[in-house]
Symmetry: C2
Subunit: 253 residues, 2 copies
Amino acid sequence: MANATALAPFLRKLRSNTVISAEGENVLGSMLLPARTFEPHHDVLMEGSRPNSAVLVVSGWACRYKQLANGKRQILALLVPGDLSEPFGALAEHMDHSISAITPLTVVPVDVAKARQIAVENVELRQALWWDLLGSQSILYERILSLGRRTALERLGHLFCELYIRLQRVGLVHNQEYEMPVSQIDLGDLLGLSSVHVNRSLQELRLTGMISLKDRRLKIHDLAGLMDASMFDPSYFHHREKVLRTKPGSNHG
Amino acid sequence: MANATALAPFLRKLRSNTVISAEGENVLGSMLLPARTFEPHHDVLMEGSRPNSAVLVVSGWACRYKQLANGKRQILALLVPGDLSEPFGALAEHMDHSISAITPLTVVPVDVAKARQIAVENVELRQALWWDLLGSQSILYERILSLGRRTALERLGHLFCELYIRLQRVGLVHNQEYEMPVSQIDLGDLLGLSSVHVNRSLQELRLTGMISLKDRRLKIHDLAGLMDASMFDPSYFHHREKVLRTKPGSNHG
DNA sequence: CGGTTGCTTGAGATCCATCAATAGGAGTGG
DNA sequence: CCACTCCTATTGATGGATCTCAAGCAACCG
């Protein structure tokens, strides 16, 4: 896979907030290694292993997860196209969590030495990478807030709003609709629920008319209403300009 | 307050894993601004505000928190002496959460321009700061795991183990005992529980004999047992050497 | 076609929240 | 020193959100 296509979603995300020059684009391209692919449920990186490269998601979805001794699993974060696992090449000696593929997945490993060098030498890129890192940290904070204080229904609604924004800025939302290839089991592991309860909550959410979800495709009919119901405040993405395009006059309350 | 004392716990934490030269110590000192103090329940930084400096906790405890529209509050992270809110001076334009004092608190604001400069120019400190940042991220991951998949009892036990390690490396654990000045209400907001249930779970935990908690002072009688019961694995702190000193022969299982 | 995976539904159990009331300590002002 | 308030810890009773167990069904696949 050519560097240009591998970099496309990542660049698109960065450019949703910052200007990246053509030179910066080339510099970023120079840290990319040959692409790799993974099947669903296969690990990209395993907890305890010594990683030697970060990964940039090119296509497909992945997740970070941890597992308890009693077998319970918790997904820590979703990785969608354009997400870079370690923006500054800052790797611990041992992974403290695993990364695995949710869908068929293409990633580009990133030369961490190069990534570190870039962060030191290039002001433009350093700032863009910090914005990216701050964004993923904010998402972690919101996940904590959801797990601790939101109901099942609110957690689902909030997640769908979050993904709406994240996917829109890499061009994966069309007509208020996007691919949502996460199984109900994985949704449970992400939101701290059982898959049974995810199932029932999804039905309830569909009944409100705010969303449709069928064949792993999600359509949001009333974004403003969904944001309201799940107490979603998009400001945590730290976008300078409005990425969000809310239909005026949508009914909610 | 002199820079030397202000820096002491932070340096002690960094040195629990890395060598920091005398010169590095001076460089770190150069980013410190005059100390400020806060009373319990008062905000150090408020969500939505434009921060102009990071803060380093010198004495007392603080927390990051978010609040939902319906009034529910979630503590995202505890900040104890030696914790630096933004190790690289990477501040968003607006705070996406608040920071407030739990106890009487002394913090030293950090000149973010200096912090950024240090991170670019000084290899030794850059690496130490990355280790620190990775550590706080790991703690976030564990918090997510607790909130999503651990029971109330396990969450409490895990928290006490985590604090044991964090406080030990800044010298605040003596004789298996440390100050735990977090009210049961705040423990609830931290662990995603009601304060009533925190109260009952604490009683249950005391009944096991593994801990005592009285007058905001926690004593751990059986660290190995507590780690076991709460599925605590200290490797997520990424320490090169064992910070942990477990009494051999303690009974658990 | 048998096996696997994911979705759906029902019934019952459990963990935890909520509501409500009491009590103690710390601070404040008279 | 007392009255008052505020905050926190504690306890009881009740209800609810969510889990677990169990079963059936559809889709996919070698």
